[in-house]
Symmetry: C2
Amino acid sequence: MRHYLIASFFALVSLGSAQAEDAFRDKAKGLFEPIPKTAPALPDNPSTPEKLLLGKMLYFEPRLSDHRDLACSTCHNLSMGGVDGGVLSGGHNAQLAGREVQTVLNAVFNKSQYWDGRATDLKDQVVNSVMANPKAMLKTRGGPMAINPAELAATKQHEIDQLKAVPQYVEAFKKAFPGEADPLVYDNIGRAIALFEATLITPDAPFDRWLTGDDAALDETQKAGLKLFVEKGCATCHNGVNIGGASYAKFGVVANPGPEHLPSEDAGRYGVTKDNADRYAFKVPSLRNVELTAPYFHTGSTFDLRKAVTVMAEAQLGQKLSDDETTKIVAFLKSLTGKQPEIVLPILPPRDR
Amino acid sequence: MRHYLIASFFALVSLGSAQAEDAFRDKAKGLFEPIPKTAPALPDNPSTPEKLLLGKMLYFEPRLSDHRDLACSTCHNLSMGGVDGGVLSGGHNAQLAGREVQTVLNAVFNKSQYWDGRATDLKDQVVNSVMANPKAMLKTRGGPMAINPAELAATKQHEIDQLKAVPQYVEAFKKAFPGEADPLVYDNIGRAIALFEATLITPDAPFDRWLTGDDAALDETQKAGLKLFVEKGCATCHNGVNIGGASYAKFGVVANPGPEHLPSEDAGRYGVTKDNADRYAFKVPSLRNVELTAPYFHTGSTFDLRKAVTVMAEAQLGQKLSDDETTKIVAFLKSLTGKQPEIVLPILPPRDR
């Protein structure tokens, strides 16, 4: 079905008229969807103002880490496209099977979370990340972790105890989870943060405005880039609302991109499924806001979006792009930057002593 | 003069009437001033919307550190009273002459910056901190640093180069510093950030509302705490608009607080002046928002405000406080928490590639 759409897409784009533009758009609508203007509801996690406020506070709360120095917001920086700008990037830690931070922006639209999809939804991702030892997280960047469970449990109890020493948190959990005897538990931390994260969406990207009828939202270079993006095959995986995030793909379908980008010790999705078919498969990342989320790949091995595009074209599609083609595709990718969430910093409550 | 005021202060507080309350307040006004409602102007650094916006962006900009992982906001967290909640506190690093992070909130009202006063104003503090190797800063927490100047210069040029690779920054510096041939330099980074920091003030604390005429803004325990705060001698140093921040004092005037709080290897202000009279003298910290700024002392050696109060009473004043007196003084100190600045996170621009 998708391949049929892609083929017919190009029968239409060369018409060069308003009619052709509409036909071009109709076909694009078969491949892509705009980011909705409002946050989606989460199953079994209804939104209330109290839970949302708590989730925002916890997102910025360093006391959720054992040394009180790392919050969700440290690595998923909302000033920087929901990533950390490549600090301690996987490239420096390849020996630890490190993986690059993925953006929290629009993560609610991904089919699974993490590069290997080991969390099925935001709440699972939050609990997994918060329960993990953050120092280990920093070293492994979301890759497999070897943590002593006894030590971890002690640390985690310490963190819960820290929050329980803050009267405003005790009260906030009661209000966010009314009727629960002991609401200050990790699962509820996960629910509250997931609810906040589901609001971190970026509507109104130029591409979405074009997709919904504004011809002038993309310039000619960007439109040519979109055409190439589909024609070359990028949209085979990078499609849907998140232009990715919906499937897994082997990195190096056609040609191995080399150990810089794909170190052999990290077999990706295989680590989760133990299925040989998943060796070196990774979740196809969303390309939303990609100009803000360098460095690229699960290894964070390049900050250069042009380079990332050419590596992908060669490794996944066996295509050698011209400089001009790369320029156009990059111009299109920059049209995927949406309106960033406006975040007023929460004020975190002190302990009572 | 101050001592005369303190003595006459207590001749009046026991009257127990509205008249007595007014007299009590008049005397308090001789010792303290409220935080103004609007940001003060900085000498030779006029405020413009463009410079202020740039300063805010740079305050949150991790690309000002050599590993792109530390911004001003990392240690001076505006969700947490302008400090970092004690991560890597001096206590862990006493062997490095470490010093605890001081709050950026109301720092514009301090007579000098840092525990040893080595920066005369916010701009000097910014340039000093940004020019310092941030990794060294983390280890020494603002204490003396031994950095290879050649290595530092190379790192710093790298950071300027990083900002120059961001077209929006090049443009923003031009707009913030019109007419300058090469505006993207460290001194201008300092000017812009200092201007933003000068807006980080916390007016409307209960104490300030009481000071300006609202009898009900303090409860009876807090008023009794204020009385004790002056009577015991705390206000001899902790006075003025910042309830501190205006002078230096030896830590351990009456009794040495012990190596936990005052490790012998950090001689404080002496390191700046080389004057023996300044051995173990530190800038008297502001007590504004003190309930938010644990841990306390230049060593960050306690998170417990009660403990900090009792240590100070013994070391500085030779006073052994009763539990009840400590409770009252702590209640008063919590009335110094003002309205925290409402900060909308800036969106930081990407590099152009």
